[in-house]
Amino acid sequence: MPIVSIEDVIKIYEGKVTHRALDRLSFDVEEGEFLAVMGPSGSGKTTLLNLISGIDMPTSGRVMIQGTDPAALRPDDLARFRRKELGFVFQDFNLLRMLTVEENIVLPLTLDRLPVAEMDARVKAITARLGLEDILHKRPDEISGGQEQRVAIARALVHRPSIVLADEPTGNLDSNAAREVLDLLGTINRENRTTFIMVTHDPIAASYCDRVLFIKDGAYYNEIHKDDRRRTFFQRILNILSLLGGNVDDLSSVRLP
């Protein structure tokens, strides 16, 4: 059974001009899969993540997560579901400015009333893996954009969710740091069978995934699966991106490490 299934989802934003952000989109995500979602800016990727997390409700169609429909849950149950099963990395505004790094990371755990020793242990473990030990007591204003992004990733993983939704998690990282983070996500994906749905514009990041889903104007466009060699996978991603009309000329010259 797929862990996430999107069935004929339409999302329309009402406003001065009604806008169809998602248009009859359908796909499944298997448990333990590492899925990348790509598409031009404004194609509805963030909207899709919002629907999966139950922040927003589809105008029509159905979103099923682990066999339940978030739209059918009562608000409190939905919140509880989110705090247990989902991890988030946002595209913007990730951290609470008045909390320290450590407090930001521990936040999802505190909502769940774990014992303090357990919380401490988990924070230690995750920050060690992300190399954040030295900045635990700094506040978001005092760290770099890349560090901030890693803190956000730590927060998304600290409560060991079964699904992690990430919106451009490597957008602010240099290629080295991005690779380290992606390796880490891959390791967690393999070790804990955590499902990842990652929105990205970066074909290199996408090439770390099991499958890449392309959407255009809110509709399903194409998808490709990982093959044995990352280099060819990367090349196929670039090909589709160029078909999609994204500006990839500058990327085709990028050499994979």
Binding site: S53, R83, L86, M98, P108, T110, L111, R113, V116
Partner: protein, 640 residues
Amino acid sequence: MTFRQFAYRNVVRNRRIYAAFFLASVFSVMVFFLYSMLMFHPGIGERFITGITLIGMTAADVVLYVFMLFFLFYSMRAFMQARSGEFALLLQIGMERRQLGKLLLLEMLLLGAASTASGIVLGFTFSKYFFMIVRELLQLPALPLYVSWEPFLMTAGAFFSLFLLIGLLSAYIVSNRDISEFRKGIGGEADPFGYSPGRAAAGILLLLSSYGAALLAGRVNVLYLSVLLPPAATLGTYYFFSHSILYLLDLFRDQKSLYWKRARIVSLAETAAKLRDNANMFFIVAIVSTVSFLSVGTLASLATYTAQYRALNPLGLVYESFPGNPDEYEHVTGLMEELDDAGLEYTHVPLSVAREDSSFSGQPINILREGEVNRLAEALGAGPVQLSPGEAIFLPYSTEAAPRLRDADIRTELEESGVEVHVQGVVGGLLLPAYSLGTNSIVVSETDFVKVASAQPDSLLRIHAFDVPDWEETVGIGLSIEQSMMMSEIQQGEALPYYFKNPGLDYSIIRSTFHLLLLTGLLVAMVFLLAAGSFIYFKLYTMLDRDRRQAAVLKRLGMTEREFIKIVNRQLVPQFFLPWGIAMLHSTFAFISLQAIWKEFADISILKEMALVLVGFTIIQLLYFYLIRWRYLAHVKGPT
């Protein structure tokens, strides 16, 4: 687009942020205007604006002005903080700092002009109702609406100068900042838990010792306390808000088992950030609320002086005629006519008083006649006395004196007439107040009084006591006599052969004065209250964008609605009720010491009035809190 147009559009487009600030300013202008209307009212000025009332009202005016200055200054700063991103951008695209300063000044003047005009218009609209309320309170026959230029000019002038001052200040601040400072956000980047441990401790110590000293008031030297306590408590309060409270929160933060629990991590840090950001404002609000609670409470207790006043002044009117007074008949009939004209019921009891030296004490003593005293006692509802020749009874000069005289048992000879009397006991109830007779009076039997009177028929004193059941209505009675007394006092001529007192008139003046002062105190306290609340709301409003995004993050992390409301509560409650609670505590302790001091002067208990004032203000504050919480939640959860 000219520069002025740009400034205009800026205000109009930022109106959401400006709205709370604008409303609070309008409200203050309105109160200030109403207040000036009252001060310049011809009907009020003639009657009451004298002495303490004038001082009280002027002081309130000055306090209002100074408070508005603070209020506008802090609002302006919060506004600049909210817009620091915009400023940074404007500077980066090449606006000169001087231009930015000019922009702010123009904005402030525009806003000032709008709120002053609206406030005056609103104030003038409401002035009719305001005067009606004041008339009720002061029990004036009429307080018509009037039009004169003074209140308008005063309000406009006061607020124009205020906004000009604030505008210049903001222009000055903005032209002395770097772009980088704006990008960080003015005052927004500091660590929420930054405090100095020494000052934190000093704050707590100062407050505790002030409270302790206040409890000891009455036992320790009062003067000492009144000089030392207020500054100590003020400094303590300042440190408390800027350091101690953060220190206490930080202590809590070290207890992970308490702190890392549910939404507390967010609400505590949020509280700390907002407290730190607003420490100065909270300090001012706390101190100013304390002062206004105290003045309102004290005034309220003075306004309920009636019972005591009546006990001290049992008679409606008292006219005393000394020997050789040619006007006695004319004055007394005049008074009776005036009472008749006013439609007031009265009982007229003339009393004859002889004065002789007592052989017992060597002091002069007043001697009254049994029959006349009994008539007065009957009129005032007291029991009659019965005396045989040779017997006498004390006439008490105050309610406190009665028990002391009850056990007296004195035999004395009245030296001039040679009459011997045995004085025993005291007349039940206060019949004649101390001012009419002095402190040493006895009542003798009819037979003895005739003997006394015939010994010195020319030196008899006559007292005309009028019992008027509606004693508060006698305001206009006997004005001509009162005037001639005042004239002779001013000219310091020969002592007049008569004395007149109208307690009803005095009472109405005392009462109206207190009520006017009370009204002033209430108005000022109201302004503080609303301004403080508006400021908190305004602050929230300027931070709304950030709070909204924060709410979105928290929602995604799986925070339930209930937990979110809890966070909002936890950060709103301290902002509303911390300055409040401190002010309450301060006032409570201040009142405990005031009560002790007060007891020395007059036997008035201010406990009940104070409790009423504190409870009343708390209810208003609660209502205000729920109103603002409701609006804030609607904004944070609502669409962007």
